[in-house]
C-alpha cells in the first residue's frame, strides 16, 4: 500500500516537473511584449470608389444660346457626372488616346454642336476612372465631351492635351443632354465698373441698381442706374482670369442654423491612437479634450472642431509621393478619422513640400461652405498623417425664407468700392467669383449665403448675399 502511494506520488511529481518546465520555458511572454495592439481599422464611412474621390468643380453644358451651369451637390450634376465617369471607364484606352495641340482642340470645339465640360479643381487622375490608365499619369483639369452630327470625341486637358474619338456603341446623346435647365453666363474677359462716391449707403459704399451696357470689343460696362449719366464715377477695369461661369438667374438661398457634428469621441480617439491605453487624456478648462501619447496629439473642441498633429512624422527627408497616391491615402484617412460626409468634396490638393495638403469642403445646393476652419484639411506624407483638422457641422433649419442673391455685378462693384485703396491704377484681376455659404464663428454658428469675390490684389472678399455687407 505504501509502495503504491509512493509510486503515485512519484508520477505526480514527474508530471508536475514537466508542467513547470514547460511553463518556465514557453509560458512567460518576451520581456518587452506589452498588450497586443488592438488597432481598430474600422472606417467611419465606407471608402468611396476611386472615380468618386475627385469630382468636377462644375459641369457646363453648351448646346444652345446659353450655357448651362451645374454645381456640386445638385441633382443634375450628379447625374451628368455619373454618366460621364461611366463612359470614361468604358472608353479610355491609352493606345487609342492621341496627343493633341490646343489648336486641334479649339477647332474641334468650334465644329461641335454640343459641348459638355467637366472642370476639375483639383485635377482628376485618369487612372481613377480605369486601371488601364495607371501608367499614363495624366491628371485632367478639364474633360470635354464634344459631339455633333457626325463626330464625337473626348478631350482631356492636363499638362498636355489628349483626344479620343468616341465609339458609337459607347455613346447615347440623350444621356448627356441635361434634363434640368439652369442657364448661366460666362463673364467676358474684361469688365468695366463705374463706382460713384455720392451714393454712400449703409455699407459705407454705393447703393445701386444694376444696369448692363454691352461695351466695346467684348467688354461689359456696368453703369449705375439712377445715376447713370448724371454723376461722374470712377471707372475700374476688371480683367477676368480664365473662364468664370455664373448662374444667370434663380439663385436663391437662406441663412442656415448649424449643428455640431455627432462624432463618437471614443471611436475617433481609437482611430488615431494605435493603443488607447498609451494615450492620456487632458480635460481643458474650455471643455475641450486633448489626447496625447507624447508623439501625437488630438484635440476635440466643444464646438465639434477636431485637430490632430503628429509633428515627428513631419520630415523633409521623405520621398515624393505621387499625386494619385496622395489622394487615395487622403480619402482613406478621412474615412478612417471621422468619415466623409455625403456633402463633402475634395476641393483642394497641393504639394506643400512636407507632403500633400488636401482639403474637403461641404456643399449645399451647389454652394460651397467656406470660412475659418470650415471643412477638413489633411497633411500627409509617406509616413502618415502629420496634420488633420475637421469641422463638418450639420445643416439645420433655414432661419428665414429664401431670398435671391444680389446680382453679381453689384457684388463686384461693392468689392471694388470697399477695397479701392488696394487697387492701384484702378485695375484688378478677378480670379474667381462664386456664391457660397459663409460659416460664422461662435457658439450658435450660422451659414450665411455670400458672394465670394477673389481679386488677385485683395484676396477673397465675402459679401452678404442680400445686403452686400462684408462678412
Amino acid at each position: 500500500m505504501r509502495e503504491k502511494f509512493k509510486g503515485i506520488l512519484l508520477i505526480f511529481l514527474v508530471m508536475c516537473s514537466m508542467g513547470l518546465t514547460y511553463r518556465l520555458w514557453f509560458g512567460r511572454p518576451p520581456l518587452e511584449e506589452g498588450t497586443a495592439p488592438r488597432y481598430e481599422y474600422a472606417y467611419f464611412t465606407p471608402l468611396p470608389p476611386l472615380s468618386e474621390v475627385v469630382r468636377p468643380k462644375e459641369i457646363i453644358f453648351c448646346g444652345g444660346e446659353k450655357p448651362h451651369l451645374y454645381r456640386r451637390g445638385e441633382e443634375e450634376y450628379r447625374r451628368l457626372w455619373s454618366r460621364g465617369r461611366r463612359t470614361l471607364a468604358q472608353v479610355l484606352d491609352p493606345e487609342k488616346m492621341k496627343r493633341c495641340s490646343s489648336e486641334e482642340l479649339e477647332a474641334a470645339r468650334e465644329k461641335a454642336a454640343f459641348k459638355l465640360v467637366y472642370a476639375f479643381d483639383p485635377p482628376f487622375p485618369l487612372e481613377f476612372s480605369s486601371e488601364r490608365l495607371a501608367t499614363t499619369g495624366v491628371d485632367a483639369r478639364v474633360i470635354t465631351f464634344l459631339w455633333g452630327k457626325d463626330s464625337r470625341a473626348i478631350f482631356m486637358e492636363g499638362n498636355e492635351i489628349y483626344g479620343l474619338p468616341l465609339p458609337e456603341e459607347a455613346w447615347s446623346q440623350d444621356e448627356f443632354l441635361p434634363t434640368a435647365v439652369k442657364p448661366g453666363l460666362q463673364l467676358p474677359p474684361v469688365l468695366v465698373l463705374n463706382v460713384v462716391d455720392e451714393q454712400a449707403g449703409e455699407t459705407g459704399c454705393n447703393s445701386f441698381e444694376t444696369a448692363e451696357t454691352p461695351g466695346e470689343t467684348g467688354s461689359l460696362s456696368l453703369g449705375i442706374a439712377g445715376n447713370a449719366g448724371t454723376a461722374q464715377g470712377e471707372s475700374y477695369e476688371i480683367r477676368v482670369s480664365g473662364e468664370i461661369f455664373i448662374e444667370e438667374e434663380g439663385l436663391t438661398a437662406a441663412e442656415i442654423m448649424l449643428e455640431k457634428e455627432d462624432l463618437q469621441r471614443e471611436e475617433l480617439v481609437k482611430a488615431f491612437f494605435l493603443d488607447l491605453s498609451m494615450a492620456r487624456r487632458i480635460e481643458e478648462k474650455d471643455g475641450a479634450f486633448y489626447y496625447t501619447n507624447g508623439e501625437k496629439g488630438l484635440r476635440i473642441y466643444t464646438s465639434g472642431l477636431v485637430e490632430f498633429t503628429a509633428p515627428r512624422l513631419d520630415s523633409s527627408l521623405q520621398q515624393r509621393m505621387p499625386y494619385s497616391q496622395a489622394l487615395q491615402k487622403g480619402i482613406e484617412n478621412l474615412s478612417l478619422y471621422g468619415g466623409c460626409p455625403p456633402s463633402a468634396y475634395l476641393c483642394a490638393a497641393r504639394n506643400s513640400g512636407n507632403g500633400y495638403r488636401l482639403s474637403w469642403c461641404q456643399v449645399t445646393d451647389g454652394l460651397v461652405w467656406v470660412g475659418e476652419n470650415a471643412g477638413c484639411e489633411i497633411v500627409l506624407n509617406e509616413q502618415g498623417v502629420t496634420f488633420y483638422r475637421r469641422n463638418f457641422p450639420v445643416a439645420g433649419a433655414e432661419i428665414a425664407a429664401r431670398r435671391p442673391f444680389r446680382p453679381y455685378e453689384d457684388a463686384l462693384r461693392q468689392a471694388v468700392c470697399l477695397y479701392r485703396d488696394e487697387l492701384p491704377g484702378k485695375k484688378a484681376t478677378l480670379l474667381s467669383l462664386r456664391p457660397v455659404y459663409y460659416l460664422t464663428a461662435g457658439k450658435n454658428g450660422q451659414a450665411v449665403p455670400a458672394w465670394a469675390v477673389d481679386f488677385a490684389e485683395t484676396g477673397v472678399i465675402y459679401l452678404h448675399w442680400s445686403t452686400l455687407k462684408p462678412l
Partner: protein, 299 residues
Amino acid sequence: MDFSRARTVLIWVFLFLNFFLLDQIWQGEGGGSYIFPGWQEEASRLETALQAAGFSLETTLPRGGTRLAHLVVKPGEPAVEEFIYSVWQVLENGREDFPMPVPEKSPNGEKGVAGRKSYYFGDYCLHAEKKGLLVLEANKKNISHQKNTSGGEMLPVLQGFIRKDPFLKGFIYDYTQETQQGTVVHYRQGYEGFPLYGGFLELMSGKEGDFVFTLYRLEPLGFAAQTREVISPAASLLRFLEVYETNQEPVKKSIIDLALGYYSCGYDAEKWEIPPVWRIRLHNGEVYYINAFTGHLEK
C-alpha cells in the same frame, strides 16, 4: 535492486526540482531580486550601451513587469492669502505684524506677467501662476536669519512648515542637491505607494541667505481603468541613452537613481491623466523622465 529506496530518492529529487522550478517562475514574474536568465541578454546590452555612452550605474535596477494605468489628477488650488500667512508665520518666527499682501504690482510699480499674479509682502514676493504653480522669492539683503543656511539646516524649518500648512500635507522628502547657486531640497508627492513626481516642492537656498520656494501640487483623483505592462527599467535606460547621446558630450557620468513613479508637466486644465515614468537621476543633478508605457522622454 531496492525499488522502494529508489522511489524515495526519486521523490526527493523531483520534489526539489519542482521547488526549484517554482522559484524560477516566481523570480521570472518579478517576485524576487534574482535576474532571470531571459533578462541576461538585455542586461548585457544595457551594460555595453552604458559603457559606450560613458555612464556608470550606481544604483540597483528595480523590478519591472508591473501593470499600471494612467493616474488622473487635477491641479491643486492654493488659497494664496492663507498660504502667504503661513509662510509669514514660519519665516518670521510668528511675527504678528502681518503685512497685507499687495497683488499685481511690485513696490517699484512693475506690472505683473500675463497668466501670473504676484503678491508682495514684507521682503517676500509670491508669484501665483494660473496653472497652480507658486514661486516664493525672498530678497537676500533683508533676511538676516537666513544667512549661510545650508540644506541640512534648512530641512527642519521646511519640514515644520510642511507639517503646519494643510496645503503642503503629503509632500515627501525626495533628495537634496548641492548646486553652484546653493542647496536645493526636493520634495515630491505620492499616491498609493507610487511617487508622484508631477507634484513637487523645491527650496533653493542661496549661499547668501536668499531663497526660492517653488511649489506645484496635484490632486490625484484615481487611476484610469485601462492597465498595461510598463517597460523594464533596463529598457527605459536604453531609451534614455538614445536620447541622451544625441545631446551631450561624452564625459564620465553616473546614474545615481532609477525609480518608477508618475510624472507630467503641469497644464492649465481641468484634469488630466499622467503616465507612469521611470525617473533617471544623474550625478550632476539632471533628471529625466522616460514614459514607462511608450519609452518616450517626457518633457
